[in-house]
């Protein structure tokens, strides 16, 4: 999976977790939680969804890497290159 696809995937997952949020103007380089109402349990939902869908395990120490869409894409691309 390429970076752009991963960004789209993350938006899709967040939309599922936060169905009331409008994500159309989400900026890729700004902290996601500064742009929408997303709390720590919602974030854990995102981590769980990656685990369930693709078997991607994100260690707790690396959670910060997923704070923006760009950061998520950069961190996940090597882990999801064969998906």
């Amino acid at each position: 999976m390429k970076a752009e696809e991963i960004r789209s995937l993350i938006v899709e997952v967040i939309q599922e977790i936060l169905p009331d949020e409008d994500l159309s103007n989400l900026k890729a380089d700004v902290r996601i939680r500064d742009q929408i109402e997303m709390d720590s349990m919602d974030f854990l939902d995102m981590i769980m969804e990656l685990r369930k869908r693709y078997g991607v395990i994100v260690p707790e120490d690396d959670y910060m890497e997923l704070s923006t869409l760009d950061g998520s894409a950069a961190y996940l691309e090597p882990l999801m290159k064969d998906i």
């Binding site: 977790i17 169905p19 009331d20 939902d45 769980m48 369930k52 395990i57």
Partner: protein
């Protein structure tokens, strides 16, 4: 007693398998309309159950629905409906003085079963167990979800009291008002039980799960052909307040709660004890300062088990005599057993009798068990009555917990 020490019900929010507000529920009770159908349960396939079709998005955002529980959704719907019905302006009310007291039969089974079902596909790897499990399954969860939704900051908790819980939620609200702990109680009971297969499987293996080719005829209290319980969900939350406050704000008063009692059988895990049921009814009558002959309507707990129905009938005979003039009915024949909601829902379904002087019937009673026969058992047709001033509502539960509420028609 002065108006400070008198407690009244001034709002009702409910959802039942056959109605999502009191008017609809009552209309269907008088029309003999059951709300029971069939659903799919994990591992069991199709089961007979009573499920509600209220719109949860009326009061919840999609995110809240996803985050919370079915029990929470039922409670949030009923609490908001109750406040709306009471015409209380929540925006100007001190929300730290509102208490939420919800009776439950059980809570957390649905979520736990769901998680176990879910991790099966991951070979029981608990890394896939939801981080939401704990907040969803703590016992106060359904009441807590109401506080989050409505911004209520007074006390909230549930009362685990098996199938006696609906009455007990209301009793707790009354007691907290009398103690001066709160100025308004949202009190009643809720159930999400049909979403747990375990309760169906246990009743089935106990020989106490109803079966019938027509699900709407499966719940048959007092009928010779009864064969067990129909498991249902539902909720009923009442706005309970001091008469003085209700009068001050010109509230519509559904009834005054004049008597109540809770006791324990201390004899068996499952089997009821009519002797203790007698004591519970007598205690409630004594608290109300009434004699049995004052009661106009007895709403029975009967769940359509052979032993349970007989025990309650024996107890009613002991308290009211063989020739009691009180009219006797049963609401579970329409909606099945709404577990923690049953007591409160069944009381609510009978409150309109104070105005319309009609007692709703017991349906599915085609072949009366002689051991359950009463002169004034209201069978299959509603009954117009001359007097409807007092209703006695029974709710009993496993581990031998009994609850009785007596309410009175309010005359301003």
């Amino acid at each position: 007693m002065n108006a400070e020490g008198r407690i009244v019900i001034t709002g009702i929010g409910l959802t039942a398998p056959n109605g999502n507000n009191l008017a609809e529920f009552r209309q269907n009770l008088l029309a003999g309309e059951s709300g029971v159908g069939r659903i799919e349960a994990h591992y069991m396939g199709e089961v007979i159950a009573g499920v509600c079709d209220f719109d949860p998005l009326k009061y919840q955002k999609k995110k809240e629905l996803r985050r919370g529980t079915r029990a929470g959704s039922v409670a949030i719907y009923c609490a908001n409906e109750a406040i709306a019905d009471s015409k209380l302006d929540l925006a100007t009310f001190d929300k730290s003085r509102i208490g939420i007291y919800l009776g439950i039969t059980e809570h957390g089974n649905v979520e736990t079963e769901h998680e176990v079902y879910n991790i099966k596909q991951y070979d029981y790897n608990v890394d896939f167990w939801s981080h939401h499990h704990n907040p969803r399954t703590v016992a106060n969860s359904p009441a807590g979800e109401v506080t989050l939704n409505m911004g209520i900051t007074g006390p909230h908790y549930t009362l685990g009291a098996a199938c006696a819980a609906g009455n007990i939620g209301i009793i707790q609200g009354l007691q907290m008002l009398l103690l001066g702990e709160v100025d308004l109680a949202l009190a009643g009971g809720i159930s999400e039980t049909p979403h747990t297969f375990g309760v169906f499987a246990a009743f089935k293996n106990e020989g106490a799960l109803a079966s019938h080719p027509d699900p709407q005829k499966a719940s048959r209290p007092f009928d010779r052909d009864r064969n067990g319980i129909v498991v249902s969900e539902g909720g009923c939350i009442c706005v309970v307040e001091r008469l003085s406050d209700a009068l001050r704000r010109g509230a519509k008063i559904y009834c005054e709660i004049v008597g109540y009692a809770i006791n324990s059988d201390a004899t068996d895990f499952i089997l009821p004890n009519p002797e203790r049921q007698v004591e519970c009814m007598n205690l409630a009558l004594k608290k109300a300062g009434l004699s049995a002959s004052d009661i106009d309507i007895i709403n029975t707990h009967a769940t359509a088990t052979i032993e349970g129905d007989k025990a309650e009938c024996q107890a009613i005979r002991e308290v009211f005599g063989d020739n009691s003039n009180a009219y006797i009915n049963n609401t579970k024949s329409y909606i099945g057993h709404a577990m923690g909601a049953a007591g409160a829902l069944e009381l609510a379904g009978n409150l309109p009798s104070f105005e319309d002087h009609i007692v709703h019937q017991t349906i599915n009673l085609d072949n009366l068990d002689p051991e359950c026969a009463f002169k004034n058992l209201v069978i299959n047709e509603p009954k117009k009555v001359d007097k409807a001033d007092y209703i006695l509502n029974n709710s009993f539960g496993m581990l031998g917990i009994n609850s009785v509420l007596i309410v009175k028609r309010f005359e301003g």
